[in-house]
C-alpha cells in the first residue's frame, strides 16, 4: 500500500499526494479524497508533535486492516489557519469504490477522536463534540 502521512504547517497539494498514491499501480479503480476546510472563523491548531504523526500512522494501519486499500494518505495541518484554508486531507485508493468511501469516512471519524490536535477559535478552545464520539462508535 502506498502511504503518505504528514503533519505540517504549510498547505498541501492534493493532486501531488493522490498521484503518489496511484503511482506505479494499475489495480486501483477508486480514489476518494476528503478535504476538511476551516469554516467561518480563524483557527489556531495546537498539536503534540511527538505523538501526532505516530497517531495518524496508527489510524492508517487500522484502516488498512479493515479495508483492502492500495493507497492511503492523511495530511493534518497545524498553526494559524484562516477561513477557507484546507486543514486536513484524507485520501483512499482501492480496487472498488465501496472500500475507498468507507475507509475515508472511517479515517475522518477516527481522526476526530484519536489524533492529538486541539482547535482554538477566537472565542476560546473548541470543545470536543459528542456526535464525534458517536460517529466513531459506528465502526465498532
Amino acid at each position: 500500500m502506498n502511504r503518505v502521512v504528514r503533519v505540517q504547517r504549510d498547505a498541501f497539494d492534493t493532486a501531488s499526494i493522490t498521484s503518489h498514491l496511484t503511482a506505479d499501480r494499475t489495480d486501483i479503480g477508486a480514489l476518494v479524497t476528503f478535504t476538511g476546510i476551516v469554516r467561518d472563523h480563524p483557527l489556531l491548531l495546537e498539536h503534540y508533535p511527538a505523538m501526532a504523526e505516530r497517531a495518524l500512522n496508527r489510524i492508517v494501519d487500522e484502516a488498512a486492516d479493515r479495508w483492502p486499500l492500495h493507497g492511503c494518505a492523511v495530511i493534518h495541518r497545524y498553526g494559524e489557519l484562516a477561513p477557507a484554508d484546507p486543514i486536513v486531507l484524507v485520501a483512499t485508493a482501492s480496487a472498488h469504490r465501496g472500500s475507498a468511501f468507507e475507509a475515508a469516512a472511517f479515517l475522518m471519524d477516527w481522526l476526530k477522536t484519536r489524533a492529538p490536535f486541539w482547535k482554538r477559535a477566537p472565542e476560546g478552545w473548541v470543545a470536543a463534540k459528542a456526535e464525534d464520539d458517536s460517529a466513531v462508535g459506528r465502526w465498532g
Partner: protein, 82 residues
C-alpha cells in the same frame, strides 16, 4: 528518577507551563496528586480528571498505566482535530 510532563491546549494554560519535570510516580493518578500541589492552576486542572485525557510516551494511556523512570506523560483536553 524523574518524569517529563507535558501540557497541551487549556491544560497548558491552566498550569501556566508547557513542560516540567516531576519525580517518578507509580501511575498518572499518583502523579496528578503530586502535581496538584504545585499551583492553584495545577490543582484545578487535576480536580477535573474526568474531562482530562493523557498519554504516556506519546500513546494514549489511562490513569492507572504504570510509569517508569524517564517516561513522558502528557495531559490534554479531549482532542478536536480533523
Amino acid at each position: 528518577m524523574s518524569l517529563k510532563i507535558l501540557y497541551f491546549a487549556w491544560a497548558r494554560e491552566m498550569t501556566g507551563v508547557a513542560a516540567e519535570q516531576a519525580p517518578l510516580a507509580p501511575t498518572p493518578d499518583a502523579l496528578a496528586g503530586l502535581l496538584s500541589s504545585r499551583s492553584l492552576g495545577h490543582a484545578e486542572l487535576f480536580s477535573a480528571r474526568a474531562t482530562l485525557k493523557l498519554a504516556v510516551n506519546a500513546e494514549f494511556a489511562d490513569w492507572d498505566t504504570p510509569l517508569a523512570d524517564g517516561d513522558e506523560v502528557a495531559f490534554f483536553p479531549p482532542v478536536t482535530g480533523g
